[in-house]
């Protein structure tokens, strides 16, 4: 019993129209196949295109031609495969023609002008939402009359506000321009082609055709599946998977965004990891006596078992940025997770005003990082900022009651020892509330009975925390730590805004990996090298996540046992 058979019962006799439509589709595929072959010939004969574009277009057209031939053959033999292929070809063709038309008409770039008038339309859009909201109120009233009235009001309001909105943002102008554009032969042709693809798609998709082509339930489900997934999948391939592969390719070139793009193999990666460790006679010996300073810059020197070593790196800044990023992660993750765990336990102790505090703690996570960093930049100001002022006040107070403290006058953003810490504070401040809310949700899922049982067993609240709360909160903790770590690894915006004039910070102390990547790719225009750094970052994040996953598994199983 399926939809297909149910449907067929209602429309009894197989129409002769189906055959006509199918014949039409076959003719279309013949035209399409020949056209594609012609297209290939044209591309190689006269078109002024780059070679890789030619190859790409030829492959696409070639596939279309082959698919069309197979489709014609299968449709003729009423094999369902023919329908699938035909649908796929026409669907893709439709999308290409449709988005091509939109592109040509200028809809995508036209979004800009939409934004121009959008503010005028915004009040009406809010009215639309208000209308919708009125509609949702119907459930609250019992009387059918009230319900109906509400429904009507809601509908009317939405329609009127909707039309007003469209007029306010300039739909009349858009329609006029569109009509004007349609007189352009190229655009008109593209629109017609779109329509033909659409028509053929409809002809093959509709129920009678499906029956004529002997579609099974599984066939229909498969087609629905691909159809439903297609917007997502195609966009994903175009804007994600494609660029991803390209990125990998770029990382093996010396691309500079202005034309140079030579294959350099592993040279970029080689430059990243190229370090040299050498023995020093004394820890203060000159670097130039130990390492080749025309290649390596001194990264660090250290003493171990009474012997001195020096580490030089070809790209010193990469290693510094890696060190800074890891330091940042090691500081910011605990600072935003442990207080969150602590606060969530306080909030979970059934106190009045829990929701208020929860909301307040959550507030920073809805605010734009750029805005927040600007605010903190002034708070951190060493001479007139609030943070140092609070410290001064505190020190004065402690000294007035007999302490003898020294006012540190911390130069938060200009001291290489504190600049990264300042970034950590801002990040932890912003992430802490979000993590608190996550923990709180996890805590509320732990059954009360477990605590009661623990109390009966004589466990105090400290023991309860370690023996009950923490193990049962493990999945949430894992989620929180993993997401915070991934976020922290990619720290960029906070640093970029917070540290004025030079985001790399005093003595490169706030140069993070993503910031370095940005500098290389979009300030020095070594985009090939920047891509290589991005892939190294990916490997690091992947490794860190995998490591946490393993630990989570290990600890999880030990708890179960």
């Amino acid at each position: 019993m399926t939809a297909a058979t149910v449907g067929s019962r209602e429309k009894q006799s197989p129409e002769s129209g189906v055959d006509l439509w199918l014949r039409l589709v076959m003719i279309w595929h013949v035209i399409l196949g020949l056209g594609s072959l012609g297209g290939i010939a044209y591309v190689w004969a006269g078109a002024d295109l780059a070679d890789w574009v030619k190859i790409l277009v030829s492959v696409a057209l070639g596939l279309t031609a082959v698919a069309s031939i197979v489709a014609v053959n299968d449709i003729n033999g009423r094999k369902h495969r023919g329908r699938t292929i035909s649908l796929a070809v026409n669907y893709l063709g439709f999308l290409v023609a449709f988005f091509g038309s939109l592109h040509r008409i200028g809809v995508f770039t036209g979004i800009d002008s939409l934004a121009d008038s959008f503010l005028q339309g915004l009040p009406f859009l809010i009215l639309v939402f208000a209308g919708f909201f009125i509609g949702t109120l119907t459930d609250r009233y019992q009387k059918p009359a009230t319900q109906r009235a509400l429904k009507q009001t809601s509908k009317a309001m939405m329609i009127v506000a909707g039309i007003a909105f469209l007029l306010a943002v300039g739909i009349h102008n858009g329609i006029l321009v569109l009509l004007g554009k349609l007189t352009n032969p190229v655009i008109l042709l593209m629109v017609v082609v779109t329509a033909v693809f659409g028509l053929m798609l409809w002809a093959m998709w509709r129920q009678p055709s499906a029956e004529a082509m002997n579609a099974t339930n599984a066939d229909n489900e498969m087609l629905s599946g691909y159809l439903f997934l297609s917007p997502n999948l195609l966009g994903f391939l175009f804007f994600f998977a494609g660029p991803l592969l390209l990125s990998l390719y770029v990382s093996f070139t010396n691309w500079d965004a202005f034309g140079t793009k030579d294959w350099v193999g592993l040279a970029n990666y080689g430059r990243i990891v190229n370090i040299d460790v050498a023995r020093l006679n004394t820890i203060t010996q000159l670097a130039s006596e130990a390492i080749d300073v025309t290649v390596y810059d001194e990264l660090t020197r250290f003493e171990i078992f009474g012997k001195s070593y020096i580490v030089g790196a070809q790209d010193k800044l990469f290693w510094l940025s890696l060190r800074n990023t890891l330091t940042f992660v090691l500081l910011s993750v605990p600072l935003s997770v442990i207080p969150a765990l602590f606060l969530s336990n306080l909030l979970n102790s059934k106190i009045a005003g829990m929701k208020f505090f929860r909301a307040v703690y959550f507030l920073p996570s809805v605010a734009a990082v750029v805005g927040i960093a600007l605010v903190w930049q002034w708070l951190f100001n060493a001479t007139i900022g609030y943070i140092n002022y609070f410290i001064t006040v505190m020190v004065d107070f402690l000294n007035s009651v007999g302490g003898s403290f020294f006012d540190p006058q911390i130069r938060w953003l200009s001291d290489s020892n504190t600049a990264l810490l300042a970034v950590v504070i801002v990040a932890a401040w912003q992430w802490m509330g979000f993590n608190t809310v996550l923990f709180l949700a996890g805590l509320q899922n732990i059954p009360r009975s477990l605590y009661e049982a623990a109390t009966v067993d004589g466990a105090n609240s400290w023991q309860q925390f370690w023996k009950v709360t923490l193990p049962l909160l493990a999945p949430t903790t894992f989620f929180v730590i993993t997401t915070t770590t991934i976020q922290a690894m990619q720290i960029f915006e906070q640093v970029f805004i917070l540290i004025p004039t030079n985001p790399a910070g005093p003595n490169n102390s706030t140069l993070t990996l993503v910031l370095y990547l940005y500098q290389k790719g979009f300030q020095r225009f070594e985009q090939g090298y920047a891509s290589a750094i991005a892939w190294v970052l990916f490997v690091i994040i992947f490794g860190a996540t995998l490591f946490q996953f393993q630990r989570q598994r290990a600890s999880g199983s030990s708890y179960d046992a």
């Binding site: 629905s224 599946g225 804007f239 734009a368 600007l374 001479t383 790719g521 979009f522 970052l537």
Partner: protein, 404 residues
């Protein structure tokens, strides 16, 4: 029993103390942002800093063209409000050579060289020759040496200008009143076109959120409920890409935008963000928890897949939709890195709020009041939405945690 109650109260008190301290820490930067955005530039550079915006008061005084600033001055142990009529009066600090601890501060114009300028008397103090000056102390002329020089301001009673006081201007307390300057917001809008940025950001956010909801629902449904070849393998690929940091894509994605002519276009901020693996994953995870029976019954009734999705799945998955909408909203509203790379034209037409802020912080680097007014414009809208939809936001964040 009593002591138990006492410890309970104490515990409650402690808990609240901690919660309130943290709440203060969370709120304070926003408070600072708001109050500073209503200040005058001069007020923002004051130390010690003060939260509320204040204006220094001035007063029209007969005989002076411009209004004069008012200061607190202590006269005969009483605090009064005097106007500053003259500043930077060169002043000498004079001391009795025999008794150096006794010093007087007087304008240099009021002392006379002892013995006249051409033939000024001198005295040797601690091995150094020092000039002697005639200084009037308590109606009596005393020969003194100048220890150092400084500058003082002349303050006078606005009602009786003959009542004068000399004191250090820098250390004097100006008379001020609370006052707000909302015109800072107008200025920021004019300077940086923040209204246009707001409009752009709102449009981008609405389109990204709705677009992403649509593709994620459709894709999630396909992954959750429809069988087709390659489905599970594809899903694994989707899952695997969630972890890839965005920066890996930035260079080629930028180049793609160049190729299709979307650089500097809002479309570049919208279209690529409509398709995400994360959203699809989230919806799929939620959809598989919906019982199959309802769906099968609907199919038998002849409902199409789309109808089933609209009638059964979407109403049943409000929490997941809220989660996705929330995350997408915050991401789209607050994103900075990608707009920074792809929208970079000098004209502010296509700037989103974060970009405008980035330019503003340079243009108005000497006016924190303007910068923070700009920050407030960017931060407040999501915050207002959050306050009204608090439950919605927090619960959606929660459900993501449980799911993860």
């Amino acid at each position: 029993m009593k002591s138990y109650r006492l410890t309970e109260t104490l515990k409650k008190f402690l808990i609240y103390a901690v919660l309130i301290i943290f709440a203060f820490v969370m709120i304070f930067p926003f408070l600072y942002m708001l109050t500073t955005s209503f200040k005058l530039p001069k007020d923002t550079f004051r130390y010690p800093p003060r939260l509320l915006p204040r204006d220094a008061l001035t007063m029209e005084v007969a005989g002076f063209d411009d209004p004069l600033p008012l200061y607190y001055v202590t006269v005969d142990g009483r605090e009064e409000q005097f106007v500053l009529i003259e500043s930077n009066i060169r002043t000498g600090v004079y001391a009795d050579p025999n008794n150096p601890d006794v010093t007087v501060e007087l304008p240099v114009s009021e002392v006379e060289p002892r013995g006249g300028f051409t033939n000024q008397e001198a005295i040797t103090v601690a091995g150094e020759e020092q000039k002697l000056w005639d200084v009037l102390v308590n109606g009596e002329i005393v020969p003194m040496i100048q220890v150092s020089q400084t500058a003082l301001g002349r303050f006078a009673d606005p009602n009786d200008l003959s009542r004068e006081v000399l004191q250090n201007v820098r250390l004097s307390q100006p008379v001020e009143e609370l006052s707000a300057h909302p015109q800072n917001y107008n200025e920021v809008v004019d300077l940086q076109g923040m209204d246009r940025s707001l409009s752009n950001t709102a449009l981008v956010t609405i389109l990204v959120v709705s677009g992403q909801l649509i593709t994620s629902i459709l894709g999630g449904y396909a992954f959750a409920r429809l069988r087709f070849p390659g489905r599970d393998k594809l899903f694994v690929v989707y899952l695997g890409t969630i972890m890839i940091p965005f920066v890996v894509l930035i260079t080629p994605l930028y180049q793609l935008m160049v190729t299709i002519g979307w650089v500097d276009k809002l479309a570049a901020l919208i279209v690529p963000w409509i398709f995400t693996a994360y959203g699809t994953f989230l919806m799929r995870q939620f959809f598989i928890t919906i019982p199959k029976e309802i769906e099968e019954a609907a199919l038998i009734d002849g409902a199409s897949r789309l109808e089933i999705l609209l009638r059964i799945f979407i109403p049943a998955s409000t929490p997941a939709l809220a989660t996705l909408a929330t995350f997408t909203f915050l991401y789209a509203w607050n994103s900075f890195f990608w707009p920074l790379v792809v929208i970079n034209t000098g004209n502010v037409e296509n700037h989103v709020l974060t970009l405008s802020l980035n330019v503003l912080r340079g243009r108005a680097s000497d006016s924190p009041n303007l910068i923070l007014a700009g920050a407030a414009i960017a931060i407040l809208p999501p915050m207002i939405i959050f306050i009204f939809g608090q439950r919605f936001f927090v619960e959606s964040a929660t459900s993501s945690g449980v799911k993860g």
